[in-house]
Symmetry: C2
Subunit: 240 residues, 2 copies
Protein backbone atom coordinates (compact mmCIF):
# COMPACT_ATOMS: atom_id res chain seq x y z
CA UNK A 1 0.00 0.00 0.00
CA UNK A 2 2.77 2.34 0.90
CA UNK A 3 4.43 3.53 -2.19
CA UNK A 4 6.60 6.24 -3.51
CA UNK A 5 9.72 7.84 -2.17
CA UNK A 6 10.17 8.11 1.52
CA UNK A 7 9.74 11.78 2.08
CA UNK A 8 9.15 11.17 5.76
CA UNK A 9 12.68 10.01 6.26
CA UNK A 10 14.34 13.06 4.87
CA UNK A 11 11.70 15.24 6.40
CA UNK A 12 12.58 13.81 9.76
CA UNK A 13 16.27 14.34 9.09
CA UNK A 14 15.70 18.00 8.35
CA UNK A 15 13.01 18.28 11.00
CA UNK A 16 15.28 18.28 13.98
CA UNK A 17 16.32 21.82 14.92
CA UNK A 18 19.91 20.92 15.63
CA UNK A 19 20.28 19.12 12.33
CA UNK A 20 18.53 21.91 10.47
CA UNK A 21 20.96 24.40 11.91
CA UNK A 22 23.91 22.32 10.85
CA UNK A 23 22.54 21.91 7.36
CA UNK A 24 21.87 25.60 6.94
CA UNK A 25 25.38 26.28 8.16
CA UNK A 26 26.73 23.97 5.50
CA UNK A 27 24.73 25.70 2.80
CA UNK A 28 27.51 28.24 2.76
CA UNK A 29 29.43 25.62 0.85
CA UNK A 30 32.25 25.45 3.29
CA UNK A 31 33.27 22.20 4.86
CA UNK A 32 32.94 22.32 8.62
CA UNK A 33 34.22 20.07 11.36
CA UNK A 34 32.04 18.19 13.80
CA UNK A 35 32.99 20.58 16.57
CA UNK A 36 32.05 23.63 14.57
CA UNK A 37 28.78 22.07 13.61
CA UNK A 38 28.08 21.19 17.20
CA UNK A 39 28.45 24.87 18.00
CA UNK A 40 26.06 26.07 15.34
CA UNK A 41 23.61 23.40 16.39
CA UNK A 42 23.88 24.41 20.00
CA UNK A 43 24.66 20.90 21.20
CA UNK A 44 27.60 18.92 22.49
CA UNK A 45 29.96 17.12 20.17
CA UNK A 46 28.66 13.72 21.16
CA UNK A 47 25.17 14.63 20.15
CA UNK A 48 26.41 16.31 17.03
CA UNK A 49 28.31 13.18 16.16
CA UNK A 50 25.20 11.04 16.19
CA UNK A 51 23.29 13.62 14.22
CA UNK A 52 26.01 13.79 11.64
CA UNK A 53 26.09 10.02 11.37
CA UNK A 54 22.38 10.02 10.67
CA UNK A 55 22.65 12.74 8.10
CA UNK A 56 25.42 10.86 6.41
CA UNK A 57 23.44 7.64 6.44
CA UNK A 58 20.61 9.56 4.84
CA UNK A 59 23.03 10.72 2.17
CA UNK A 60 22.57 14.35 2.97
CA UNK A 61 26.13 14.84 4.08
CA UNK A 62 29.51 13.65 2.94
CA UNK A 63 32.52 13.31 5.13
CA UNK A 64 36.15 13.85 4.35
CA UNK A 65 38.85 12.86 6.78
CA UNK A 66 41.80 15.12 6.90
CA UNK A 67 44.28 14.67 9.68
CA UNK A 68 42.44 14.46 12.91
CA UNK A 69 39.63 16.53 11.59
CA UNK A 70 36.56 15.36 9.80
CA UNK A 71 35.13 17.84 7.43
CA UNK A 72 31.49 17.60 6.61
CA UNK A 73 29.88 19.04 3.52
CA UNK A 74 26.55 18.69 1.83
CA UNK A 75 26.65 15.41 -0.06
CA UNK A 76 26.13 17.02 -3.44
CA UNK A 77 24.43 19.81 -5.29
CA UNK A 78 21.08 18.13 -5.04
CA UNK A 79 21.07 18.54 -1.29
CA UNK A 80 21.76 22.23 -1.62
CA UNK A 81 18.97 22.59 -4.12
CA UNK A 82 16.62 20.72 -1.84
CA UNK A 83 17.45 22.87 1.16
CA UNK A 84 17.15 26.00 -0.88
CA UNK A 85 13.71 25.05 -2.06
CA UNK A 86 12.62 24.31 1.48
CA UNK A 87 14.08 27.57 2.70
CA UNK A 88 12.38 29.45 -0.04
CA UNK A 89 9.13 27.82 0.85
CA UNK A 90 9.52 28.51 4.54
CA UNK A 91 10.57 32.10 3.96
CA UNK A 92 7.69 32.61 1.58
CA UNK A 93 5.17 32.00 4.29
CA UNK A 94 6.91 33.86 7.01
CA UNK A 95 8.14 30.79 8.81
CA UNK A 96 11.10 32.70 10.05
CA UNK A 97 12.91 31.71 13.14
CA UNK A 98 14.23 35.11 13.66
CA UNK A 99 12.07 38.08 12.95
CA UNK A 100 13.94 41.30 12.54
CA UNK A 101 14.62 42.27 16.11
CA UNK A 102 15.97 45.35 17.82
CA UNK A 103 19.59 44.33 17.92
CA UNK A 104 19.69 43.37 14.34
CA UNK A 105 20.81 46.50 12.47
CA UNK A 106 24.44 45.84 13.28
CA UNK A 107 24.12 42.26 12.10
CA UNK A 108 22.40 43.29 8.91
CA UNK A 109 25.16 45.72 8.19
CA UNK A 110 28.16 43.47 8.59
CA UNK A 111 28.61 40.11 10.16
CA UNK A 112 30.69 36.98 10.07
CA UNK A 113 29.43 34.19 7.90
CA UNK A 114 31.76 31.50 9.25
CA UNK A 115 34.94 33.16 8.03
CA UNK A 116 33.92 35.76 5.52
CA UNK A 117 31.97 38.96 5.44
CA UNK A 118 28.21 38.89 5.10
CA UNK A 119 25.42 41.38 5.47
CA UNK A 120 24.97 44.60 3.62
CA UNK A 121 28.69 45.27 3.44
CA UNK A 122 29.40 41.77 2.22
CA UNK A 123 26.90 42.15 -0.57
CA UNK A 124 28.26 45.57 -1.44
CA UNK A 125 31.79 44.24 -1.61
CA UNK A 126 30.92 41.47 -4.04
CA UNK A 127 28.83 43.79 -6.17
CA UNK A 128 31.67 46.23 -6.36
CA UNK A 129 34.24 43.57 -7.18
CA UNK A 130 32.11 42.30 -10.01
CA UNK A 131 31.38 45.79 -11.27
CA UNK A 132 35.05 46.69 -11.45
CA UNK A 133 35.85 43.43 -13.20
CA UNK A 134 37.91 41.90 -10.41
CA UNK A 135 35.56 38.96 -10.17
CA UNK A 136 33.71 37.30 -12.95
CA UNK A 137 30.31 35.74 -12.44
CA UNK A 138 30.33 32.70 -14.68
CA UNK A 139 27.12 30.76 -14.49
CA UNK A 140 26.50 29.89 -10.91
CA UNK A 141 30.08 30.31 -9.83
CA UNK A 142 32.53 33.11 -9.31
CA UNK A 143 36.10 33.44 -10.51
CA UNK A 144 38.90 35.90 -9.87
CA UNK A 145 40.01 37.66 -13.04
CA UNK A 146 43.60 38.44 -13.92
CA UNK A 147 42.86 42.06 -13.17
CA UNK A 148 41.32 41.02 -9.88
CA UNK A 149 44.45 39.16 -8.90
CA UNK A 150 46.60 42.21 -9.26
CA UNK A 151 44.05 44.35 -7.47
CA UNK A 152 44.04 41.93 -4.57
CA UNK A 153 47.84 41.91 -4.52
CA UNK A 154 47.75 45.68 -4.00
CA UNK A 155 45.64 45.17 -0.91
CA UNK A 156 48.05 42.53 0.30
CA UNK A 157 46.39 39.29 -0.73
CA UNK A 158 48.33 36.80 -2.81
CA UNK A 159 45.81 34.74 -4.74
CA UNK A 160 48.58 32.37 -5.79
CA UNK A 161 49.05 31.33 -2.17
CA UNK A 162 45.38 30.62 -1.79
CA UNK A 163 45.34 28.38 -4.82
CA UNK A 164 47.39 25.77 -3.01
CA UNK A 165 44.45 24.98 -0.77
CA UNK A 166 41.83 22.59 -2.01
CA UNK A 167 39.18 25.06 -1.04
CA UNK A 168 37.64 27.00 -3.91
CA UNK A 169 38.87 30.56 -4.29
CA UNK A 170 35.48 32.10 -4.69
CA UNK A 171 32.06 30.93 -3.83
CA UNK A 172 28.79 32.69 -3.84
CA UNK A 173 27.02 32.53 -0.50
CA UNK A 174 23.41 33.49 -0.21
CA UNK A 175 22.75 36.18 2.32
CA UNK A 176 19.49 35.66 4.13
CA UNK A 177 19.24 39.15 5.48
CA UNK A 178 19.84 40.71 2.09
CA UNK A 179 18.56 37.86 -0.07
CA UNK A 180 21.53 38.46 -2.29
CA UNK A 181 24.90 36.86 -2.75
CA UNK A 182 28.09 37.73 -1.00
CA UNK A 183 31.59 36.41 -1.43
CA UNK A 184 32.72 33.23 0.28
CA UNK A 185 35.62 30.95 -0.48
CA UNK A 186 39.25 31.47 0.41
CA UNK A 187 39.31 34.90 -1.22
CA UNK A 188 36.32 35.95 0.84
CA UNK A 189 38.07 34.70 3.93
CA UNK A 190 41.32 36.42 3.02
CA UNK A 191 39.57 39.72 2.48
CA UNK A 192 37.91 39.65 5.85
CA UNK A 193 41.14 38.63 7.57
CA UNK A 194 42.82 41.48 5.77
CA UNK A 195 40.34 44.01 7.10
CA UNK A 196 40.69 42.67 10.60
CA UNK A 197 44.49 42.76 10.44
CA UNK A 198 44.50 46.31 9.19
CA UNK A 199 42.26 47.31 12.05
CA UNK A 200 39.52 48.43 9.73
CA UNK A 201 37.12 46.26 11.65
CA UNK A 202 36.94 43.92 14.59
CA UNK A 203 34.80 41.05 15.64
CA UNK A 204 32.67 41.33 18.73
CA UNK A 205 32.88 38.82 21.51
CA UNK A 206 29.67 36.88 21.80
CA UNK A 207 28.11 37.92 18.54
CA UNK A 208 28.72 37.44 14.88
CA UNK A 209 28.55 41.09 14.07
CA UNK A 210 31.57 42.89 12.64
CA UNK A 211 32.19 46.44 13.81
CA UNK A 212 34.01 48.84 11.53
CA UNK A 213 36.13 51.64 12.91
CA UNK A 214 35.28 55.10 11.55
CA UNK A 215 38.48 55.19 9.55
CA UNK A 216 38.17 51.60 8.42
CA UNK A 217 34.66 52.18 7.27
CA UNK A 218 35.74 55.15 5.19
CA UNK A 219 38.46 53.14 3.51
CA UNK A 220 36.21 50.16 2.94
CA UNK A 221 33.53 52.25 1.31
CA UNK A 222 36.13 53.97 -0.86
CA UNK A 223 37.65 50.66 -1.87
CA UNK A 224 34.31 49.14 -2.77
CA UNK A 225 32.22 51.90 -4.25
CA UNK A 226 28.79 51.35 -5.67
CA UNK A 227 29.52 51.43 -9.36
CA UNK A 228 25.94 51.23 -10.42
CA UNK A 229 24.81 54.69 -9.39
CA UNK A 230 21.24 53.92 -10.37
CA UNK A 231 19.90 54.26 -6.90
CA UNK A 232 20.85 56.07 -3.75
CA UNK A 233 23.36 53.97 -1.88
CA UNK A 234 21.57 51.30 0.13
CA UNK A 235 24.72 50.69 2.11
CA UNK A 236 24.69 54.17 3.48
CA UNK A 237 21.05 53.99 4.37
CA UNK A 238 21.90 51.12 6.66
CA UNK A 239 24.99 52.87 7.84
CA UNK A 240 23.12 55.54 9.73
Amino acid sequence: MKEGPDIAQIGALIGDPARANMLTALMGGKALTATELAAVGGITVQTASTHLAKLEAGQLLAQRKQGRHRYFTLADDGVGKLLESIMGFAAGRGHLRHRPGPKEPALRKARICYDHLAGDYGVRMLDSLIAKGAIDAVGDGLAVTRQGESALKCIGIDVGDLKSSRRPLCRSCLDWSERRAHLAGSVGKALLSNFLEKGWARRTAGSRSVIFSPDGERQFLALFPLHQADRSSPAQSVET
Copy 2:
Protein backbone atom coordinates in the same frame (compact mmCIF):
# COMPACT_ATOMS: atom_id res chain seq x y z
CA MET B 1 22.00 34.14 16.39
CA LYS B 2 19.57 31.85 14.69
CA GLU B 3 18.73 33.21 11.36
CA GLY B 4 17.10 32.26 8.14
CA PRO B 5 13.89 30.44 7.39
CA ASP B 6 12.76 27.75 9.74
CA ILE B 7 13.31 24.66 7.71
CA ALA B 8 13.18 22.49 10.80
CA GLN B 9 9.53 23.22 11.34
CA ILE B 10 8.36 22.12 7.94
CA GLY B 11 10.85 19.29 7.97
CA ALA B 12 9.28 18.04 11.16
CA LEU B 13 5.82 18.40 9.68
CA ILE B 14 6.78 16.26 6.73
CA GLY B 15 8.97 14.04 8.85
CA ASP B 16 6.20 12.10 10.50
CA PRO B 17 5.29 9.00 8.49
CA ALA B 18 1.57 9.37 8.97
CA ARG B 19 1.66 12.99 7.88
CA ALA B 20 3.92 12.19 4.96
CA ASN B 21 1.45 9.58 3.77
CA MET B 22 -1.40 12.02 3.95
CA LEU B 23 0.53 14.64 2.06
CA THR B 24 1.54 12.27 -0.70
CA ALA B 25 -2.06 11.17 -0.95
CA LEU B 26 -3.08 14.78 -1.44
CA MET B 27 -0.51 15.28 -4.16
CA GLY B 28 -3.05 13.71 -6.49
CA GLY B 29 -4.78 17.07 -6.33
CA LYS B 30 -8.02 15.67 -5.07
CA ALA B 31 -9.52 16.92 -1.83
CA LEU B 32 -9.84 14.19 0.75
CA THR B 33 -11.76 13.96 3.99
CA ALA B 34 -10.22 13.43 7.38
CA THR B 35 -11.47 9.87 7.48
CA GLU B 36 -9.95 9.03 4.13
CA LEU B 37 -6.69 10.59 5.15
CA ALA B 38 -6.71 8.63 8.37
CA ALA B 39 -6.93 5.49 6.27
CA VAL B 40 -4.01 6.35 4.04
CA GLY B 41 -2.02 7.34 7.08
CA GLY B 42 -2.82 4.08 8.80
CA ILE B 43 -4.10 5.77 11.94
CA THR B 44 -7.38 6.48 13.67
CA VAL B 45 -9.41 9.55 12.92
CA GLN B 46 -8.59 11.15 16.23
CA THR B 47 -4.90 10.97 15.55
CA ALA B 48 -5.40 12.09 11.99
CA SER B 49 -7.34 15.05 13.23
CA THR B 50 -4.48 16.33 15.33
CA HIS B 51 -2.06 15.76 12.49
CA LEU B 52 -4.24 17.64 10.09
CA ALA B 53 -4.57 20.50 12.51
CA LYS B 54 -0.80 20.74 12.70
CA LEU B 55 -0.40 20.64 8.97
CA GLU B 56 -2.97 23.34 8.63
CA ALA B 57 -1.28 25.48 11.24
CA GLY B 58 1.93 25.05 9.32
CA GLN B 59 0.12 26.27 6.20
CA LEU B 60 0.72 23.08 4.32
CA LEU B 61 -2.95 22.21 4.10
CA ALA B 62 -6.14 24.08 3.53
CA GLN B 63 -9.51 22.98 4.76
CA ARG B 64 -12.91 23.41 3.21
CA LYS B 65 -16.06 22.60 5.09
CA GLN B 66 -18.81 21.11 3.07
CA GLY B 67 -21.78 19.66 4.86
CA ARG B 68 -20.57 17.42 7.56
CA HIS B 69 -17.40 16.67 5.68
CA ARG B 70 -14.18 18.53 5.81
CA TYR B 71 -12.15 18.36 2.70
CA PHE B 72 -8.44 18.84 2.94
CA THR B 73 -6.20 19.88 0.10
CA LEU B 74 -2.66 21.08 -0.24
CA ALA B 75 -2.66 24.73 0.72
CA ASP B 76 -1.43 25.88 -2.65
CA ASP B 77 0.76 25.06 -5.58
CA GLY B 78 3.89 25.85 -3.65
CA VAL B 79 3.28 22.96 -1.34
CA GLY B 80 2.93 20.61 -4.26
CA LYS B 81 6.15 21.88 -5.74
CA LEU B 82 7.91 21.45 -2.45
CA LEU B 83 6.71 17.90 -2.00
CA GLU B 84 7.60 17.06 -5.54
CA SER B 85 11.12 18.30 -5.09
CA ILE B 86 11.51 16.29 -1.92
CA MET B 87 10.11 13.21 -3.59
CA GLY B 88 12.40 13.66 -6.51
CA PHE B 89 15.32 13.96 -4.19
CA ALA B 90 14.32 10.93 -2.16
CA ALA B 91 13.65 8.82 -5.23
CA GLY B 92 16.95 9.87 -6.73
CA ARG B 93 18.85 8.23 -3.95
CA GLY B 94 16.73 5.16 -3.63
CA HIS B 95 15.03 6.19 -0.44
CA LEU B 96 12.02 4.15 -1.32
CA ARG B 97 9.63 3.01 1.29
CA HIS B 98 8.40 0.14 -0.66
CA ARG B 99 10.78 -2.09 -2.46
CA PRO B 100 9.20 -4.16 -5.17
CA GLY B 101 7.48 -6.89 -3.25
CA PRO B 102 5.69 -10.10 -4.13
CA LYS B 103 2.17 -8.79 -4.29
CA GLU B 104 3.14 -5.86 -6.35
CA PRO B 105 2.85 -6.98 -9.98
CA ALA B 106 -0.85 -6.25 -10.09
CA LEU B 107 -0.30 -2.81 -8.63
CA ARG B 108 2.51 -2.06 -11.02
CA LYS B 109 0.33 -3.02 -13.91
CA ALA B 110 -2.71 -0.89 -13.16
CA ARG B 111 -3.89 0.90 -10.10
CA ILE B 112 -5.94 3.81 -8.89
CA CYS B 113 -4.06 7.03 -8.35
CA TYR B 114 -6.84 8.79 -6.42
CA ASP B 115 -9.25 8.91 -9.31
CA HIS B 116 -7.30 8.11 -12.40
CA LEU B 117 -5.32 5.24 -13.82
CA ALA B 118 -1.72 4.75 -12.85
CA GLY B 119 0.85 2.03 -13.24
CA ASP B 120 2.13 0.53 -16.42
CA TYR B 121 -1.23 0.83 -18.15
CA GLY B 122 -1.62 4.43 -17.07
CA VAL B 123 1.77 5.28 -18.51
CA ARG B 124 1.00 3.38 -21.68
CA MET B 125 -2.28 5.23 -22.10
CA LEU B 126 -0.71 8.65 -21.86
CA ASP B 127 2.14 7.67 -24.19
CA SER B 128 -0.31 6.43 -26.73
CA LEU B 129 -2.51 9.52 -26.48
CA ILE B 130 0.46 11.74 -27.05
CA ALA B 131 1.76 9.61 -29.90
CA LYS B 132 -1.52 9.74 -31.75
CA GLY B 133 -1.77 13.50 -31.23
CA ALA B 134 -4.78 13.46 -28.95
CA ILE B 135 -2.83 15.15 -26.19
CA ASP B 136 -0.16 17.72 -26.57
CA ALA B 137 2.74 17.96 -24.17
CA VAL B 138 3.43 21.66 -23.93
CA GLY B 139 6.28 22.44 -21.61
CA ASP B 140 5.46 20.91 -18.26
CA GLY B 141 1.77 20.65 -18.87
CA LEU B 142 -0.60 18.64 -20.99
CA ALA B 143 -3.44 19.80 -23.18
CA VAL B 144 -6.16 18.03 -25.15
CA THR B 145 -5.95 18.75 -28.85
CA ARG B 146 -8.92 19.38 -31.11
CA GLN B 147 -8.35 15.95 -32.58
CA GLY B 148 -8.18 14.52 -29.09
CA GLU B 149 -11.54 16.02 -28.21
CA SER B 150 -13.28 14.25 -31.05
CA ALA B 151 -11.46 11.02 -30.29
CA LEU B 152 -12.65 11.20 -26.69
CA LYS B 153 -16.17 11.95 -27.84
CA CYS B 154 -16.13 8.70 -29.78
CA ILE B 155 -15.34 6.83 -26.59
CA GLY B 156 -18.14 8.66 -24.85
CA ILE B 157 -16.37 11.48 -23.05
CA ASP B 158 -17.50 15.04 -23.62
CA VAL B 159 -14.55 17.30 -22.94
CA GLY B 160 -16.82 20.31 -23.09
CA ASP B 161 -18.65 19.13 -20.01
CA LEU B 162 -15.42 18.70 -18.13
CA LYS B 163 -14.35 22.23 -18.91
CA SER B 164 -17.06 23.62 -16.66
CA SER B 165 -15.23 22.32 -13.61
CA ARG B 166 -12.50 24.40 -12.17
CA ARG B 167 -10.26 21.40 -12.15
CA PRO B 168 -7.66 21.29 -14.92
CA LEU B 169 -8.47 18.95 -17.77
CA CYS B 170 -5.10 17.32 -17.93
CA ARG B 171 -2.35 17.03 -15.47
CA SER B 172 0.79 15.05 -15.58
CA CYS B 173 1.17 12.84 -12.54
CA LEU B 174 4.46 11.20 -11.86
CA ASP B 175 4.25 7.48 -11.51
CA TRP B 176 6.52 6.22 -8.85
CA SER B 177 6.47 2.62 -9.92
CA GLU B 178 7.27 3.47 -13.52
CA ARG B 179 9.13 6.73 -12.92
CA ARG B 180 7.23 8.17 -15.83
CA ALA B 181 4.19 10.35 -16.21
CA HIS B 182 0.60 9.25 -16.47
CA LEU B 183 -2.53 11.24 -17.06
CA ALA B 184 -4.37 12.93 -14.21
CA GLY B 185 -6.89 15.75 -14.24
CA SER B 186 -10.54 15.53 -15.09
CA VAL B 187 -9.83 13.82 -18.40
CA GLY B 188 -7.78 11.19 -16.63
CA LYS B 189 -10.60 10.69 -14.19
CA ALA B 190 -13.20 10.51 -16.95
CA LEU B 191 -11.20 7.90 -18.82
CA LEU B 192 -10.93 5.63 -15.83
CA SER B 193 -14.62 6.06 -15.01
CA ASN B 194 -15.36 5.22 -18.59
CA PHE B 195 -13.44 1.97 -18.40
CA LEU B 196 -15.13 1.01 -15.18
CA GLU B 197 -18.59 1.79 -16.55
CA LYS B 198 -17.98 -0.26 -19.66
CA GLY B 199 -16.94 -3.17 -17.51
CA TRP B 200 -13.46 -3.23 -19.00
CA ALA B 201 -12.02 -3.12 -15.52
CA ARG B 202 -13.07 -3.07 -11.90
CA ARG B 203 -11.58 -1.85 -8.67
CA THR B 204 -10.72 -4.34 -5.98
CA ALA B 205 -12.08 -4.00 -2.50
CA GLY B 206 -9.29 -3.28 -0.06
CA SER B 207 -6.61 -2.42 -2.56
CA ARG B 208 -5.89 0.24 -5.08
CA SER B 209 -5.23 -2.17 -7.87
CA VAL B 210 -7.41 -2.17 -10.95
CA ILE B 211 -8.25 -5.52 -12.52
CA PHE B 212 -8.99 -5.68 -16.21
CA SER B 213 -11.34 -8.28 -17.63
CA PRO B 214 -9.88 -10.36 -20.49
CA ASP B 215 -12.09 -8.61 -22.99
CA GLY B 216 -11.57 -5.19 -21.47
CA GLU B 217 -7.85 -5.66 -21.55
CA ARG B 218 -7.94 -6.56 -25.23
CA GLN B 219 -9.94 -3.46 -26.04
CA PHE B 220 -7.78 -1.23 -23.89
CA LEU B 221 -4.59 -2.43 -25.52
CA ALA B 222 -6.13 -2.00 -28.95
CA LEU B 223 -7.30 1.49 -28.12
CA PHE B 224 -3.94 2.56 -26.75
CA PRO B 225 -1.32 0.84 -28.87
CA LEU B 226 2.36 1.40 -28.42
CA HIS B 227 3.15 3.65 -31.34
CA GLN B 228 6.84 3.68 -30.75
CA ALA B 229 7.64 0.09 -31.69
CA ASP B 230 11.23 0.53 -30.64
CA ARG B 231 11.11 -2.09 -27.95
CA SER B 232 9.06 -5.15 -27.17
CA SER B 233 5.95 -4.11 -25.32
CA PRO B 234 6.78 -3.46 -21.68
CA ALA B 235 3.11 -3.68 -20.85
CA GLN B 236 2.96 -7.30 -21.84
CA SER B 237 6.06 -8.19 -19.99
CA VAL B 238 4.37 -7.10 -16.81
CA GLU B 239 1.12 -8.64 -17.85
CA THR B 240 2.36 -12.18 -17.54
